[in-house]
């Protein structure tokens, strides 16, 4: 796997990042709640509304983004400003970066300790030539460890970071981990833009009965309790996960679904955030 590049300079890092207007982190203490799904849907949704978007996947052990956007066979190229991200189409309005593009084989495990992961993330932040982007969405792995500390440290002094969106599922076990993520944000000075409750109720396609497969209401209750904005619920919709595996743009394929409504409500709230 080739990951070498010219040593980055302060100027190049700043230039690469200055062309991004808004940076949004997608966090969760808990794994498997839909961070990557939500990050990808926010990026695709913003692209649909005419924005230029970047999507940075800093989950080094489990990079989902290339698979979710059908970009697995793409490579990274270098230019004088650094690494050129992968574009989803010729419009170049959605640019993606992930360690997934650097693997020789999709099944290769990235078995790295913290310091090596930190170095890679720093390169992703400083050396990717994003170009003019209205939004950069940063998808993270679960937890409050190396990747999170490193990304926050590298973004700390930058003016264009809107904050973080926290994703949870409704049940207490998830909410418990997300509480810790909130504590992480407080401790590190990351603004919390809001909480999203994902997998919030499954509507049986046969009889339309709604079952709370992963309990209900935990995300909203947490938002109320902690005084953080509640951005909305996304239902548990098998077609959403399936769309990410088959290359369908969910909101285009299912424009009337409540899942699409939820996603666009969330995007509207995020894009109307007033950063003073």
């Amino acid at each position: 796997m080739s990951a070498s590049t010219e040593p980055s300079t302060e100027n190049r890092a700043d230039n690469n990042f200055e062309s991004v207007k808004h940076v949004i982190l997608v966090l969760s203490g808990k794994g498997g709640v839909g961070k990557s799904t939500v990050a990808t849907q926010i990026a695709l949704g913003l692209q649909l509304t005419g924005k230029k978007v970047g999507l940075l996947d800093i989950d080094l052990c489990g990079p989902s983004t290339p698979t979710m956007l059908q970009l697995e066979d793409q490579d990274i190229h270098q230019c004088t400003q650094g690494w050129v991200p992968v574009f989803t189409d010729s419009s170049q309005t959605l640019a993606v970066m992930s360690i997934g593009f650097l693997l020789n084989n999709r099944d290769d495990a990235v078995v790295w300790r913290g310091p090596k992961k930190n170095a890679m993330i720093k390169q992703f932040i400083e050396d990717v030539s994003w170009g003019e982007r209205d939004y950069l969405i940063i998808d993270t792995p679960p937890g409050t460890s190396d990747e999170h500390i490193t990304v926050v440290e590298n973004l700390r002094h930058r003016e264009n970071v809107d904050g973080a969106v926290l994703v949870t599922t409704p049940q207490a076990v998830s909410v418990g981990d997300v509480r810790r993520e909130l504590a992480f944000c407080r401790k590190t000075g990351v603004r919390v833009l809001g909480i999203i409750e994902n997998m919030s109720g499954f509507v049986c396609p046969h009889c339309k009965e709604c079952t709370n497969v992963f309990s209900s209401g935990g995300g909203e209750a947490l938002a109320i309790e902690t005084g953080v904005p509640f951005l909305g619920c996304i239902p548990l919709d098998p077609a959403l996960g399936q769309s990410l595996e088959t290359g369908t743009k969910y909101t285009e394929a299912f424009p009337q679904s409540s899942t699409t409504d939820s996603i666009f409500n969330i995007i509207n709230k995020l894009t109307s955030v007033n950063i003073s």
Binding site: C61, V111, V173, R180, C204, E209, T211, G241, E245
Partner: protein, 312 residues
């Protein structure tokens, strides 16, 4: 797996290699003096202590998944509970998910604290024959975030293995966080001085999960950790009203059973998605005890039997 410090030159031979400090690339490295002294190649005295503790433990099972949220902790908790149904067995459950410790809540021990005795740290007991250890018991509040980089996490995992006084144990179940990083490398390294029966790898049916789980299987192979088998969790959902089954996480690429065949690893079974399992975990109850006749409990029991058979 040789260790290369962050400030090492590009062709660092690794601090534990025979060439450490002596290779041409070591010239000018700030660590050269330490490496040539041989200090980093000396055996770690803690490993001897870990070996002593582990000598009292007959069987060790790691519960892994490349993917988060597939049910590792749920499975670990229920595997431990299932094993402890036989009261003649002594079971230990170790949670090495330092950032997201779910086990205390899942076994109804949230808020409990660890006590020290002359013989080490006392684990917290769910039943007389089921003991648990987690970073969750070391936090002042369950909401406290553990914001640690790798080396500190590794240190705690080593402490867990060195200092927890489990006593004589038949089965040690180790719950892990998702991924293939510090916690996983460390637990394998620290346990390499003992016999580990193997890993149970959990996944859900969809390709996004399988993608990460194939990496985890390759990790196991890289570190020579035997694989007891794959479990497909959240395998199908039966609507409580109309009783029709839906695939909430559709197996677009054939699911875990096909992946197990393709990768030549045993397939242990499927667990259905039953909302009552999540509720039991939230409430710290055993699903196996609350709903023993449910399809999910039957499936769990069958898988546990296969694991016992493998361990011999």
């Amino acid at each position: 797996m040789s260790d290369k410090p962050e400030n090492a030159p590009e062709h660092c031979p690794g601090t534990t290699s025979e060439e450490a400090g002596k290779a041409s690339s070591c010239e000018g490295c700030p660590n050269q003096k330490i490496c040539t002294s041989g200090a980093l190649r000396a055996p770690d005295p803690d490993i001897e202590k870990v070996k002593e503790r582990m000598a009292n433990i007959k069987h060790k099972i790691l519960v892994l998944s490349g993917k988060g949220g597939v049910g590792k902790s749920t499975f670990s908790a229920h595997l431990a509970r299932g094993l402890s149904c036989d009261e003649s067995r002594q079971i230990a459950l170790l949670d090495i998910d330092i950032c997201g410790p779910s086990i205390p809540r899942m076994v109804g021990l949230e808020g409990e604290q660890v006590h020290q005795s002359g013989s080490g740290w006392s684990p917290v007991y769910v039943e007389d024959n089921l003991a648990v250890m987690s970073v969750g018991f070391l936090l002042a509040s369950p909401d406290d975030a553990v914001i640690w980089r790798g080396p500190k996490k590794n240190g705690l995992i080593k402490q867990f293995l060195r200092d927890v006084d489990w006593g004589e144990v038949d089965y040690l179940v180790v719950d892990t966080p998702p991924g293939t990083s510090d916690e996983h490398i460390s637990i394998v390294q620290y346990l390499s001085c003992t016999h580990v029966d193997g890993a149970v790898v959990i996944t859900t049916p969809q390709e996004v999960s399988l993608l990460d789980v194939r990496k985890e299987i390759n990790f196991c192979r890289k570190v020579k950790l035997p694989i007891i088998g794959i479990v497909e969790n959240m395998s199908g959902f039966v609507c409580p009203k109309c009783k029709t089954e839906s695939k909430i996480f559709p197996p677009t690429t054939g699911g875990a059973e096909k992946m197990a065949t393709d990768m030549n690893v045993p397939f242990l079974g499927k667990l259905p998605l039953d909302p009552r399992i999540g509720r039991c975990c939230d409430e710290g109850k055993s699903f196996l005890a609350e709903l023993p006749d449910s399809p999910a409990a039957v499936a769990y029991t069958e898988i546990i039997e296969k694991i016992i058979l493998h361990c011999g």
